[in-house]
Amino acid sequence: MPASATEYSATVWTHFRSPCNAGEFPAGTAGVLGGEAGARQRGRAVAFQLQVNADGRVADCRYRVYGCPATIALCSLTSEALKGRPLAAASAFSVVALAEQLGLPAAKRSAALTVEDAIRSAAGRYNSPGWLPLAAAELTHRA
């Protein structure tokens, strides 16, 4: 077992074992912004999806993750933390600070940065042509 095994908290361990909100929204789901960061060749890759309401708040999250237990746990915890936040606040959310609160070793800081990058990449697509927030998209769809 790597030395860092003993350095993971119970919270990290729980979210690694049973990550919340894992997976992805079905194709065509309204209001979804997606972003990616990292690369398998570098040891971690994250694809994060934010579902945004008409009021600009994050309604729900999904993600796919390839990486160490810390990366998986950070995706899970972050996906819970972002719900209900305005998109700007979600984009500014510090996964690095979360990692520090969890007592993750300094060497795992890059895992937090990868998750942050994926979220910011997703949030950055807010003004993409054709994208509509959840409620507006549903109204458009109904019309």
């Binding site: 074992r17 040891g43 971690r44 796919r64 060497a107």
Partner: protein, 388 residues
């Protein structure tokens, strides 16, 4: 043993066999053989007798003469003594040695130190199956080559080098041949009477003996000479000074004696367990890859690469198993196994490789449980990963 965890890391170390522990306990207290084996009095002579019996037992497992066995603190010290000792003693003949890139760190780091000291080292790359072919050795030898150091069985992937063929080449060319046999002693028949090996390293704790004890075989005919690493008292024919650790030596002797008695039955049993594990894993995960040669390998070691998932996560997910990883992902800079990288595995595959090693106390039910745990966790992590 902790029964919550299935121990499949016998290549890292083995528990002391209770029969061995009992013998060791008889060398520690007032009632036992606690005296200094170098002392001339009766208790000292009794301890010396126990040490010499252990020497006989170690020698018997590998077809050596008892006088050719030098006790050390472990295989790492044996490797150091063999390589540094030979290179320093014979430096008038030359300053070149040959080894491979997938030796144990005890050999790699010793050779690197010799390079820093001005010796020349040829580092052989294994073939894609993880083997050092005798022809590679032949091509690497030079007129100033003093020593070849090649392991018998690779500790990570379990592949088995043809030390009989390599020994024929080195003997013909007048070059010394050192073999690290830490992973093969007790698992494969070794007969130093027929092998043309000059120096061979052994470990106590890989053979159900205690940690902190090992041995070095030093051939007497033709005679091999070494510069000692440790001075101070002239113990072990002047090659390894220091008061002999009677309980450790007795433990190693008892362990090697049991290994000799049980080898013929135990090796096929372990081979069957290893094969059972591989078949179960491969059936559940067809994309799993066997690291190392499929058949030229020791009975107890299986090393498998699991494509598409990250190694540290797989290892953590399989917390119910005590196994070894192909990587040391303890820092931002991943450090995949140098052995697997030398075999041509990329960082991802090297990082997601697991070494399973079965041993004396392994049973089929443990192997079956291990296969189902790994398969289940592999699928979970694969489902979690981004596609592409």
């Amino acid at each position: 043993m902790n029964h919550k965890v299935i121990y499949l890391d016998y290549a890292a170390t083995t528990p002391v066999d209770p029969r061995v522990a009992e013998k060791m306990a008889g060398c520690l207290t007032c009632e036992g053989m606690f005296a200094n084996p170098a002392s001339a009095h009766a208790p000292g002579r009794a301890a010396r007798g126990a040490v010499e019996q252990a020497r006989n037992q170690v020698a018997a497992l590998v077809g050596a003469e008892p006088g050719e066995i030098i006790f050390t603190s472990g295989a790492t010290e044996s490797d150091n003594l063999a390589i540094k000792g030979a290179m320093h003693f014979y430096q008038g003949k030359g300053r070149h040695l040959v080894t491979s890139r997938i030796e144990h760190k005890a050999v790699l780091d010793t050779c690197k130190q010799l390079e820093r000291d001005g010796f020349e080292v040829t580092w052989l790359k294994p073939d894609p199956d993880g083997l050092i072919q005798p022809s590679m050795i032949e091509q690497a030898l030079r007129p100033d080559t003093v020593l070849v150091s090649i392991m018998h069985v690779n500790n990570e992937i379990g592949t088995l080098n043809d030390i009989a063929a390599i020994g024929r080449i080195t003997r013909e060319r007048g070059v010394l041949f050192h073999v690290d046999a830490a992973q093969s002693a007790g698992k494969l028949p070794i007969d130093l009477k027929t092998l043309r090996v000059d120096l061979m390293s052994f470990s106590g704790h890989k053979v159900y003996g205690p940690k902190g004890i090992g041995a070095l075989y030093v051939r007497r005919e033709p005679r091999v000479q070494l510069d000692p690493l440790i001075h101070g008292g002239g113990h072990e024919h002047g090659l390894r000074s220091g008061t002999l650790a009677t309980h450790q030596i007795v433990g190693m002797g008892a362990a090697f004696d049991l290994a000799r008695q049980e080898l013929a039955q135990e090796a096929p049993r372990l081979r069957a367990l290893r094969e059972r594990l591989w078949q179960a894993l491969h059936a559940a995960i067809p994309q799993a890859l066997l690291n190392g040669h499929p058949s030229q390998r020791v009975c107890g070691i299986l090393n498998v690469a699991f494509p598409g998932i990250e190694g540290e996560s797989l290892l953590f997910a399989c917390e119910a198993l005590a196994v070894s990883s192909g990587s040391a992902c303890t820092s931002a800079d991943r450090q995949p196994s140098f052995v697997l990288r030398a075999l041509g595995r990329d960082d991802q595959l090297a990082g997601s490789s697991i070494r399973f090693s079965v041993g004396r106390f392994s049973i089929a039910a443990e192997v079956d449980t291990a296969a189902s745990i790994v398969s289940e966790e592999y699928r979970r992590l694969l489902d979690l990963a981004p596609t592409g």
